[in-house]
Subunit: 414 residues, 2 copies
């Protein structure tokens, strides 16, 4: 089965807003073995919307409409889809009653325009919306002589997700031939996409029945594996076998095989060892601490640290000797080590991280160009320093630097 | 004139990748007075691509294809558009020579598959690509008896942007009736979308000739104004007049009228006053420092600070008395003030910010629920504390808290 997703709303045709619901739906549909073949974005215009509906119905088995189900005169999805299907709309008194109850529960009176949300396409199954007023609709019928499934879903992401997961997944599964799909994701740290691919391509190419997708981010490569087979066990076995060979080839560069982020992984490892971490950041300016503390519960292993942006604070908060800075410069192997050691002692943490570098776009010199970063990791057994030159703009250099620092802690705890 | 944008690439139909080029193009097209009426996303499939091309040509005056111009067998845009237009492709020896030179300059030999990048649709103007091998193409001709403009652009954002700005904007402008469009953006701090709209709607509704779009983010509302008139001066005068009335109504809640971010604005104000800032963060965990230091040149006014996640560090780095924490709790008005005062003194900064709260999802109590945040701002004239209860998840609460803290500095410096 293939699908087309239609996102509806004039705001999605401005420079300011983008459909993101379709990424979520695509993930879910792929889990069912449904491939998305087109996505269309259309404004709140009945003629355009009807044309898009007709087009989608002519080429996809499953057509999902998102948005345009609200109470305003711009909400035209029901009318346009009914037009395209040549079906009538009827107003459902039960839905009106439920919308009235919703308003009453907040001591409000339902305004008349809300009634259009009770318009149901003939033959549609109404999908109650637990998080909003506009229900979804499921239509299973013929278009041009071919069986189609048509879904009308509300646009707000939290309404759409809950409604789709709770009321559409199983209904769709029941309509599909039984399929067994297993997926897995490996995340690889601090390796370029092409360098990674050069190592893993000879392996995954031998697994013709496993679909392998390589995606690159800053300081991270993701390998997405997907297999179909006659049973879930068989599919799982194929991707597990491939994943094992890939992990063997890439070694400890693989930091996650279940979707966890680098900061989550570092958190797990620290907790397992009953260890704590403190950071002293210069060029990353708080990003490293921000990433670590973005994980709920991070207070169990992260004590805190210093954003030592000025030289004075490097000394005041991490005891970096002023003559060390004078001699080697703030961006140096020695200062990275001193930041790591100083913050570790000051905070009484198991590990101390120190990061200093040139994030750019200004501040670079021939000896210390933009992108040069020193990362120090101190523990009771001593201090290691890694020097890296990162490409890209300020944002990218800072992200790479935070990723490298976290990866040093991860490798230390392996 | 209206436009359809077609993004090409099977990766754009996965859960992992999204077209973002179209946001950029939409902004540029709107500047020319061109409205985007449809966006279509299609995979590397010749039949699907040709269908999408025919569909777009039947409904839009300007059709922009992005991607699918590379050297692999998946790159099918040229063929599909030629099919849809009923035109021939001819291989251009000059383009082949230029691709060969590009390879030679890196001491590489051009592989044969690269030659397809030299296939030009009959009658097309070739648009050289300064940042990649595949040139763009501009076709101006008839489809079904109506004048159309068709653009083929490379998919990588930096190639597409440079090529469009340098070679398409003026060509398009020359094809369009002379238009005068003025735009302006007001950003409003720490106000809800509906509260903001309730105050400004009676004003902007009197300006029927100015298109006003209200968008909400976390801790920020944006008002986008756009006007067309017989001259640029007349258009500019209309939006300036409206902007002035909106600013009058909203007062100092408006923090930017030229697109600058909160952290940039705070940076300007601090520099203007020759003032410096230090921060002591608990629940924001580094986010506040990260936002401030994301601005290049922030070392001129930001000295640094502490991520005082543990109670011990609140004392060690910001001199918060232990008995104050014991008496009022780490999340309290008193500790926020002490953090601000302590970090200010420790860092010798003009201003000190202290933030402490419950970011969630765990850690909330009936007295101190998730979302409760205290923000302290200390200066030589004393300390003020703002208590807020923010909605949403951990990420949203932390963002709101950082926005509120920055806004306090901004208001102080007004």
């Amino acid at each position: 089965m293939n699908a087309e997703i239609i996102a509806i709303g004039s705001e999605l045709l401005t420079p300011y807003r983008q459909d993101t619901n379709s990424l979520y739906l695509t993930e879910r549909l792929n889990q069912l073995g449904v491939e998305v073949i087109f996505k269309t974005i259309v404004g709140d215009n009945r003629e355009h919307l009807t044309a898009a509906a007709n087009q989608a119905l002519s080429r996809a088995d499953l057509v999902i409409f998102m948005g345009g189900l609200g109470p305003t005169e711009d909400d035209l999805t029901r009318e346009a889809v009914a037009d395209a299907l040549g079906l009538e709309l009827r107003r459902d008194p039960e839905i009106i009653a439920s919308i009235e109850r919703r308003f009453a529960s907040r001591n409000l009176k339902m305004t008349p325009n809300n009634a259009q949300q009770a318009d149901v396409i003939a033959g549609a199954v109404v999908l109650p919306n637990a998080h909003g007023t506009a229900p979804g609709q499921w239509i299973s019928g013929k278009y041009d002589g071919r069986e189609k499934i048509i879904l009308l879903l509300p646009g707000p992401p939290h309404e759409l997700k809950a409604l789709f997961d709770q009321q559409c997944m199983e209904r769709l599964r029941a309509k599909l031939p039984q399929q067994f799909i297993a997926t897995r994701e490996l995340k690889v740290a601090m390796m370029g996409e092409s360098a990674c691919d050069a190592r893993v391509a000879p392996i995954y190419k031998r697994y013709q029945d496993v679909q392998t997708t390589i995606l690159a981010g800053a300081g991270e490569v993701q390998l997405h594996l997907k297999a179909r087979a006659a049973s879930l066990e068989a599919a799982q076995q194929r991707i597990d076998e491939l994943a094992e060979k890939l992990e063997e080839e890439l070694g400890d560069a693989v930091f996650s095989d279940n979707g966890d982020s680098m900061e989550q992984i570092v958190g797990y490892y620290l907790q397992m060892r009953n260890a704590t971490l403190a950071v002293a950041e210069s060029c990353t300016g708080g990003l490293l601490a921000e990433r670590i503390t973005s994980v709920s519960g991070s207070s169990r292993y992260f004590v805190g640290g210093a954003v030592a942006y000025s030289n004075e604070l490097k000394t005041a908060f991490a005891d970096v000797p002023t003559d060390l800075i004078a001699k080697h410069g703030a961006v140096s192997r020695e200062v990275a080590a001193a930041l790591a050691e100083g913050i570790r002692k000051r905070c009484g943490a198991t590990f101390g991280l120190g990061v200093t570098g040139v994030a750019g776009p200004t501040g670079g010199t021939p000896e210390k160009p933009v992108g040069l970063v020193f990362h120090g990791l101190a523990s009771e057994r001593g201090t290691e320093v890694v020097e890296r030159s990162f490409p890209g703009d300020r944002k990218r250099v800072r992200w790479f630097a935070s990723q490298q620092a976290l990866d040093m802690v991860r490798r230390k705890l392996l």
